[in-house]
Symmetry: C2
Subunit: 468 residues, 2 copies
């Protein structure tokens, strides 16, 4: 399997990035039931090529430019093998002390790489600290649930007879209209109103707009309690103005969560760190090393200023999960920090990656990918048929053909159909826009040049047609 994996990754460029299969293709290729008797490994591996590979979208192909990157590195894969072998389910300190303790220290290491304010670092005395969540969606949900619990308690402190249901019906959360769909979903799950804040012409939320919405809601007798600000939105990698939003949240006693799922990794570079200024106002901060920091999925890092806020929201203590040390105040039982009970030894991946790359290696990875995006941006800007639709700050380029949405939809359809490169669209100010995200660790300048030649060739053919 090690050989297969190495061959797969080293020769990935030769496979078409996007599969040529129709929905339902797989079912007819394998039996309808599990075998009664064992089969050999060799038979299964033949089927990997026959059944699986034809239907794989190759996220680590250098021609994959869709969504955002999914991290992949050999150190992370090695650590994941070790994680699978140890196979502990680290829901409490006692369930495997190393699993919990390495995680706390790795989140401290990473927090320091990002120069997070001291209050987010666990250390030996801190009230804050970090935890690995599976995804940013879950980190958002956890922060919203913790904020909800805190808000209900605050209201009940002055109105002890007020019912929780009544309070919930008045709570209002806020996020950017450009925020990821999982933020709206967190509101639905939590049963609270989620307002979408209009953005400015760079697709960012500003303090003024937010403040007006909060004041309007308060005047209507509602209770603003939570803001999810985004640093690096999914459609265009826009940055909400957290230095303006933070003080408003502070004044209004609202929980500020910052979702930097994609862009967060870049804050390990001093030149990008200013974009994180204002994080000192946040109650919780999250980004995904499994996107852009070479730690394979899943590894989403969440920090909170006050551990007690997040733990207190759902602490449950059945006897079969109790252990001797838990009341000492020294231990962390991460099951209280997350939705699932079980958890893998994921901090091993961080440890291996941080050590085998070093901070220098990680910074070099970020800088290289940003420079590739800038290179692609230059190519687009040099072609008058195209326009850039949002400032290129990190590894994402939003662009489109000058012209109708239909024209751009047709172009994207032809790109998808050709299967040479893979990208997905987004919507910005009613425009249908193409997103070109630098994703694979192995993408080089010549891949970018090749991708652009391919796009311009398809464009040339498209614009030749009588309809255009």
């Amino acid at each position: 399997m090690v050989d297969y994996v190495a061959d797969y990754l080293e020769n990935l460029e030769q496979r078409p990035v996007y599969p040529d299969v129709e929905p339902g293709y797989l079912r007819s290729l394998i039996p309808t039931e599990a075998p009664v008797d064992p089969e050999t490994y060799e038979d299964i591996m033949k089927d990997v090529e026959r059944v699986i590979m034809p239907g794989v979208t190759h996220w680590h192909s250098p021609y994959f430019y869709a969504y955002f990157p999914a991290a992949s590195s050999y150190p992370a894969m090695l650590a994941d093998m070790l994680c699978g072998a140890i196979g502990c389910i680290g829901f409490s300190w006692a369930a495997s002390p190393a699993c919990t303790e390495l995680e706390t220290v790795m989140l401290d290491w990473l927090g320091k790489m990002l120069q997070l304010p001291e209050c987010f670092i666990a250390g030996t005395q801190g009230h804050g600290g970090g935890v690995i969540q599976s995804t940013a969606s879950e980190a958002t949900l956890m922060s919203l649930l913790a904020a909800r619990c805190k808000a209900v308690r605050q209201v009940q402190a002055s109105n002890p007879t007020k019912l929780e249901a009544e309070i919930l019906s008045k709570l209002v959360a806020y996020t950017s209209e450009q925020a990821h769909s999982s933020v709206e979903r967190a509101g639905l799950i939590g049963g609270v109103t989620m307002r979408k804040i209009p953005t400015d012409d760079s697709y960012a939320v500003t303090g003024d707009t937010f403040k007006k919405m909060v004041e309007k809601d308060k005047a209507a007798g509602l209770i603003p309690f939570y803001l999810c600000a985004t640093l690096g939105t999914t459609p265009s990698c826009a940055f909400d103005h957290i230095t303006e939003l933070g003080p408003i949240c502070k004044d209004e006693h609202m929980w500020m969560h910052i979702d930097a799922a994609y862009a967060g990794s870049a804050f390990i570079c001093p030149e990008f760190r200013p974009l994180l200024n204002g994080v000192e106002f946040a109650d919780s901060f999250n980004f995904n090393p499994h996107k852009w920091l070479l730690v394979n999925f899943d590894c989403s890092a969440l920090w909170v200023k006050k551990r007690s806020d997040i733990i207190g929201a759902f602490k449950m203590e059945p006897l079969y999960l109790k252990h001797e040390n838990q009341e000492s105040g020294l231990v962390t039982d991460y099951r209280h920090w997350q939705i699932p009970l079980g958890r893998r030894f994921r901090s091993l991946k961080m440890w291996f990656v941080f050590r085998m790359y070093g901070l220098n290696g990680l910074q070099a990875h970020i800088r290289k990918q940003v420079s590739l995006a800038k290179e692609f941006e230059s190519l687009v800007r040099a072609d008058k048929r195209f326009e850039i639709c949002a400032e290129v700050i990190m590894g994402l380029v939003c662009f489109r053909l000058k012209g109708s949405n239909e024209l751009n939809q047709t172009l994207l359809k032809r790109i998808s159909k050709s299967r040479e490169i893979h990208l997905v669209p987004c919507q910005l100010s009613d425009h249908f826009v193409l997103r070109f995200a630098i994703c694979s660790r192995t993408t080089e300048s010549h891949h970018i040049q090749q991708a652009w030649r391919h796009i311009t060739q398809l464009t040339f053919e498209l614009l030749q047609e009588p309809a255009h």
Copy 2:
């Protein structure tokens, strides 16, 4: 790493099952910050033995009898390596068609192994089907949220002006007082009342008790909407009477979810399948192949009768996640079935395990572990100082010294301190009880005999002391 993993697992017996470390042990063993320059793999592996292993609770040691088993097998580990290499994030069909399609078919294979009613099988025409969740906690939460959404819509269908918050305040969910703590937690997250149903003298929920509670709540103007029944409770592996509970849920238009997290794997054996009778009344059914079916964590299998119920609860469609085939009705976008957005290619683990063991091999694994539990039960029953506290049906033996809770607490403390075997307690009818769960794939009769010799030796010493 392959060699390290094989050596670790094959020689695990020689390591003490439970670590001898104090909270905070790890931090001082490693630097306070990540290195700036890369380090070698060899240096890291030295630290695995120096820093990590001393703090690991070895879940796959044949002397580990705590909690419930965490599955571990070489086929699953091989598949996980492939999963890491492919590294797709299968939130939609288009994000990697093979990832979605293999999952649907594997859940069908597994459903057929369990002889689930046809309505839970996706096939090519079905309305039901299965999905891999990370944990049973998440499966419970998803089912509760889907039920909540359905209940709100039902009430609003006849009272369109009724506010959601008002309806939520009247919804009542039910589960056994013996149910896992994550069920109560799902109620907290979902913002609904969760009632704990008292159990009979075998720690099971019966129809009569449940029916009375439902009627009382209805008489008080509340809306019973959800039951989480358990097959194989965590404390004692008790089985709720689902053939009685199912018809009540049906009459009351309540959602019945069945949580068989541990015991579910055994239903692949015909002799245990009768315990699943009544599943035909369920709206959703869940168990964890990552517990007892040799598929490494995480792999929790959830089936629903109506896909539309679970999908409809939170469907969100931003443009960057849309794809051409999604409206065809033929494709599954699993992101609508779960809390997180991202997801790994976990069905590979099922495929490898089902094929390399075959149904026969999997059944043999279950039967062997049950017989080991029966063997331990016989040892306990033959010693008049001890008593068995719950019927031994699967791989769990609940036992205690006849005498006070303090005596049993002391015995467990000494067992833990000796670090030769590892087990955890539970509470049954105010009794402090020791749980002996057959966990490791490599546990054999001689380990059980050795564990019992160890327990009786500590018991002998304890009872010799003047205080007893």
